[in-house]
């Protein structure tokens, strides 16, 4: 299915927003109905294009947050104060609005539900979005493949999908939240950047040879990938997706 989803040249499609909901004070999920959407694999992204009345156009890439579900898809957009596109997507866009996009894009940063290997997901900030698509695809497939999520966020208020993640955790998913600026009382881990111990806790060392997906800002991804490699993870098993200054 992943292959079918990436074959064929990309063309622009027009989706219709059916719902928007705030995930955090700065992140919003946009639900779209996209006629002609060919389906997607967890980890893929779309390009979104906004065009002004005078013809000026700006384009950005956003990860798909939802598992494959016909022509319905969800994006979660982090609003950047000085951004050009995200303030519109995560602030102005409302149900009924059209949105131009193309996708699905990317045949590499994908979780393949047929792969029996355990999976270690490492998210920094809104880097959780494509990893959430993987968690949702796993849940939709009722797969029993072991997953561990290590999610670095500035504070509890910045955790996207907090309620859904708590539910998955109660259902047995191994979730570790790493707070970099302020941790809630009693979290047992002082606030601070991600460490090797966060990544290899429990039985998740390199000897288990998990498939590893790391997504976040460039600095976070580089630091996490270096920690994983230094801990003995095979660099060939670590897939990364960085987002940076072209976001927004």
């Amino acid at each position: 299915m992943a292959r079918a989803a990436v074959l064929g040249r990309l063309t622009w499609l027009v989706g219709k927003v059916t719902d928007v909901r705030d995930e955090t004070p700065t992140a919003r999920t946009i639900t779209l109905e996209v006629p002609g959407w060919p389906g997607h694999a967890p980890g893929q992204h779309v390009d979104v294009r906004l065009t002004a009345a005078d013809g000026y156009s700006a384009q950005r890439s956003y990860s798909i947050a939802s598992a494959a579900d016909g022509t319905r898809l969800e994006l979660t957009v982090q609003r950047l104060a000085d951004g050009e596109v995200s303030p519109y997507l995560a602030g102005v866009l409302a149900a009924g609005y059209p949105l131009e996009l193309r996708g699905p894009i990317g045949g590499w940063f994908l979780w393949d539900a047929a792969d029996p290997a355990p999976v270690l997901l490492v998210a920094g900030g809104s880097g959780i979005v494509p990893l959430m698509a993987m968690l949702r695809a796993r849940a939709a497939a009722a797969a029993s493949i072991p997953f561990r999520l290590v999610y670095s966020a500035r504070s509890p208020d910045d955790v996207i999908y907090a309620g859904e993640l708590a539910g998955l955790q109660r259902a047995g998913l191994d979730v570790q939240l790493v707070y970099t600026r302020s941790a809630p009382p009693g979290s047992g881990r002082p606030a601070g950047r991600i460490t090797a111990a966060d990544l290899t806790a429990g039985s998740w060392g390199p000897d288990r040879a998990p498939a590893v997906f790391v997504c976040g800002p460039t600095g976070f991804v580089t630091a996490a990938a270096e920690l994983l490699t230094a801990a003995g993870h095979d660099p060939g098993r670590i897939k990364t997706e960085r987002f940076g200054p072209t976001g927004g």
């Binding site: 292959r3 990436v6 074959l7 064929g8 040249r9 990309l10 063309t11 992204h45 390009d47 384009q59 890439s61 193309r102 996708g103 894009i105 990317g106 045949g107 590499w108 940063f109 460039t218 897939k239 990364t240 997706e241 960085r242 987002f243 940076g244 200054p245 072209t246």
Partner: protein
């Protein structure tokens, strides 16, 4: 300019040009011989186009620019691309 992204970010523009996903293709760096997915290259997007560098040696492997009605693709930093394609018929013998 030190901020870079992954080769994944080339997917949209390359997907406009080619029917197979180039970011998942394996590529060999013409400078050092390193092999890996195009998605693993380090992409510097700040210029008028995007410049992808080899993650092993830093050599420029791909340059891609999209203009109003044309695109430029410079692959001379690669010695080859290996693409996964759906199974097809055996090639016919040359006539």
């Amino acid at each position: 300019m030190t901020d870079y992204l992954d080769g994944n970010v080339l997917g949209g523009t390359l997907g406009e040009l080619f029917a197979v996903d180039i970011t998942a293709a394996r590529a060999q760096c013409a400078s050092c011989g390193n092999r890996g997915a195009v998605a693993q290259t380090l992409v510097y997007p700040a210029g008028p186009g995007m410049v992808a560098r080899c993650p092993a040696c830093g050599a420029v492997v791909i340059r891609l620019a999209r203009g109003e009605d044309r695109a430029w693709l410079d692959l001379r930093g690669l010695s080859y691309l290996q693409l996964e394609v759906p199974p097809g018929p055996e090639p016919s013998p040359a006539v």
